[in-house]
Amino acid sequence: MAVLEKAELIANAAGRNVPETVNGRPQVPYMGVGKYRPTGMKASPPICSASDYPSDGDKRVPDLETALRKCGLRDGMVISSHHHLRNGDRVALMALETAGHMGVKDLTWFPSASFPSQKSAIELMQAGVIDHIEGSMNGPLGDYCTQGKMRGMGVLRSHGGRWQAIQDGEVHIDIAVIAAPTADAFGNCDGSHGKSACGSLGFALADSLYADHVIVVTDNLVPFPCAPWQIQGNNVDYVVAIDSIGDPARIVSGTTQLTRSPDRLRIAEFVARFLRDAGIMRDGFSFQAGAGGIALAFVGYLKQMMKQAGVKARFVRGGSTKYLVELLEEGLTDYILDGQTFDLDGIRSIANNPRHVATSPLTSYNYHGKGNFASMVDAVVLGATEVDTHFNANVVTHSDGRLLHGIGGWQNCLASRCTILAVPSFRDRIPVIVDEVTTLCGPGELIDVVVTERGIAINPKRQDLLDATRGSTLPIRSLEEIQREVERICGGKPRRPKRGVRPVAVVKWVDGTVLDTVWQVE
């Protein structure tokens, strides 16, 4: 199978050296924002006949092994899973371990994201059950990859990029294993109810539509119909009922705590004031903020300013939390368009409030479609591990080259009308503003504002934002100025760690082209 050999490299339009082939497949190097427009037809799953499925709709089989065997599991297949159960998920590993017991080798695991609790996937890679992971890797899995121990090359994609890759036929899913907090025997699934409720199931939607075989695993089997359904049973082959699909305490957090860090609060307040002073916060506007400490605090500050100004949003985009739910319930937004649900308030809301709508990577993010929601959002607040003085940003690796985070929806969100990176100016003496990012994940032309605790830098390409905030009391400065100040505090420019020479993973752009390479850490 795809043992990592010496890869041929080619410089892409961003000047980054990327492999021409990845795991045996030829690649298109990144060509620039909006430059690559492929033609042809989308991938499609095989035609099936209802006569091959039970007419009473009962697709239950006794266990996961039976389901995998009936799906024709064999060496080298691609097995997919979703990450709505986050660090509490039990199903993905259960499926992969079962495959291991069945003696299967060289699988590609294609999760929508992996989590630290899934670190025993390393043992499955060492045993040869998994050849490589295509999906976000962090913590122990990220280290395993960047140490060059994974046999195949990692492929990091955004949520929208994953849909694009499935839809365009870059990744063909042989068997999708979908963990469902509630399901019926026909395979209809819902994420908002049941003891393992996680809210939306959007990340599993593409898998259900495009995989050759689909297995639903649930710990809350209800009589037909499971309504409302987010996954249609018509795409499902087998249903397996088990005791527990995940650890509820690690699926959602009971209460989302606001940060007390004064620096983070300061950054959050700056972001909110920026939206107000730049005129972005106005009646009918929209924004997206995640569940990180700064993003949550930002929502709190913005809420106060919205009340003071008497404006409300038309929609906000999650990951939803208590703080977005409060906006909805207090009438400060008409809708939450939710990609994933982070806490118990979010679950309660999405289960009961028709204005709290589950979305999928198709509606929100997919670049190879007829538009998506991301580009319609007035402002998005994101994090980053590094940003360079040309506003290029990194979100996957630490400055030492180790994989730290997945891309998530980050790349897709850059399509927003105003993309704001909210970052501390340094972490543990390591400056966040650098001369050149370790790994390029977001082209600077799409990043409009960088907010740090020491000042706010506006991309010179956004003269409109510079004009709009002239006269604001916000500390608007150049990135270079903030960089110099931080380097003085930190005792000079950090030495750049020596980059490895062997590619261990690639970062895809939203259109499926290869934006950058993650190198083995020496």
Binding site: P262, R429, E453, G491
Partner: protein, 401 residues
């Protein structure tokens, strides 16, 4: 021939997964073999070489040429690295009489006697992670604390850290205050920090004027030794019943005193009463401080409000405090700063009325009239004086232009 001295292992600082911006260093002096530096650092890839080089330079300057050195670094900034190594060397019984000083940032303009002192943000003297961004939160002053927030065993090390912070950290427009320890230990603090020109020294647990004089005299001596001419003001803290009784003598003890404040934790402990969020038990003492301060021509500054989560309680305390005649109070968390500033700001009505009085005063002056009147009402001179003061204060706070 060198004289044999007692050689012992010296260690200083902190490391561990929860520690940020600090480091642990252990020094075992040897007879020979040069410097053997073992470094573990979470920023090794970026600053490993820089840390080793700095460690060698600091040790060299302190006269340590042969030693086994272990450093566990959690992303400490250079001024912290230098202070921790110096502390370890001194604890090893070496480096006596030598200071290794980090690069100095430009000193801010000297502090005015009656500058605005609404808020002072407490920074524990042994927690360097809080120093670097403290000024960004906009307090009127930062206060590097060597007293209650520093463990007795850490006083020597904290002193070096605070000294280096005064030199190397840019505290922007903040007045740079240091709270020394209760005398006589506080005098040793002064020896280390005064050469770095703090703007103001808080003297804790003052009970008689001699204590203020002792500190004042020591500061004057060190200033003379180092040729420091800019002012270093004093703020005595009254923290006991006796201190309150001797308040006026204490307030008048030094012409370098600019403010008088009260420490309520110790004061209520001295009285054996429970400290409440409304402060009824300390009302007399606080009013006494206000009255004394005004009688002595000093600012009256209130204690702190300790419950960081209770913003409404803080606001109420601040408003009440201003109503009593205090001009500011301490902050134990940066989120308290805007609330305190709001509470100690004069209200819009107050400012408006004061501006009218000031305008009437200027009008009377121009016309050569001895009496200031607003409408049909005659305004007494003290009222005019208060209005002038209030308008100047509102201007300094940026409330009016």
């Amino acid at each position: 021939m060198t004289v044999a001295t007692e050689i012992r292992t010296g260690e200083a600082g902190h490391s561990g997964p929860e520690i940020r911006s600090d480091l642990y260093v252990r020094i075992e002096p040897r007879d020979s073999g040069g410097l053997q530096i073992e470094l573990e650092s979470r920023v090794e890839a970026y600053y490993g070489d820089s840390i080793r080089k700095q460690a060698e330079e600091v040790l060299e300057a302190l006269g340590v040429r042969d030693a086994q050195v272990l450093i566990r670094d959690e992303g400490a900034l250079p001024f912290v690295i230098a202070a921790r190594i110096e502390a370890a060397v001194r604890r090893a019984g070496l480096g006596e009489g030598t200071r290794v000083l980090p690069d100095r940032v430009d000193l801010p303009a000297p502090s005015d006697r009656d500058r605005i002192r609404r808020s002072r943000l407490y920074l524990p003297g042994s927690e360097p992670k809080y120093f670097i961004n403290a000024a960004l939160h906009g307090p009127d002053a930062i206060i590097l604390d060597l007293e209650d927030s520093v463990h007795a065993a850490e006083k020597d090390a904290a002193r070096l850290l605070v000294r280096n912070a005064l030199r190397a950290v840019d505290f922007l427009c903040c007045e740079r205050m240091v709270r020394i320890n209760q005398l006589p230990l506080g005098l040793e603090d002064l020896d280390e920090v005064i050469p770095e020109s703090p703007d103001l020294v808080l003297i804790p647990k003052v009970e008689n004027p001699d204590q203020v004089m002792a500190a004042s005299t020591r500061i004057a001596e060190i200033k003379a030794d180092y040729g420091i001419t800019r002012p270093i003001w004093l703020m005595p803290i009254l923290e006991s019943a006796l201190g309150i009784e001797n308040a006026f003598a204490i307030a008048k003890a030094s012409d370098q005193s600019v403010a008088l404040t009260i420490g309520l934790e110790d004061y209520t402990a001295d009285l054996g009463v429970v400290k409440t969020s409304t402060g009824a038990e300390s009302l007399y003492a606080r009013q006494r401080v206000v009255n004394t301060a005004h009688a002595a021509g000093l600012q009256a500054i209130d204690s702190v409000f300790g419950d960081v989560g209770d913003m409404e309680g803080l606001r109420a305390w601040g408003l009440n405090s201003r109503g009593l005649g205090f001009e500011g109070m301490g902050c134990v968390h940066p989120t308290q700063i805007p609330v305190v500033h709001e509470a100690f700001a004069p209200g819009a009505n107050e400012i408006e009325r004061a501006q009218k009085i000031v305008a009437a005063f200027h009008d009377a002056q121009q016309k050569g009239l001895g009496v200031v009147s607003l409408g049909s009402k005659m305004i007494d001179p003290p009222v005019v004086q208060r209005a002038l003061k209030l308008v100047a204060r509102a201007q300094a706070m940026g409330l009016i232009h």
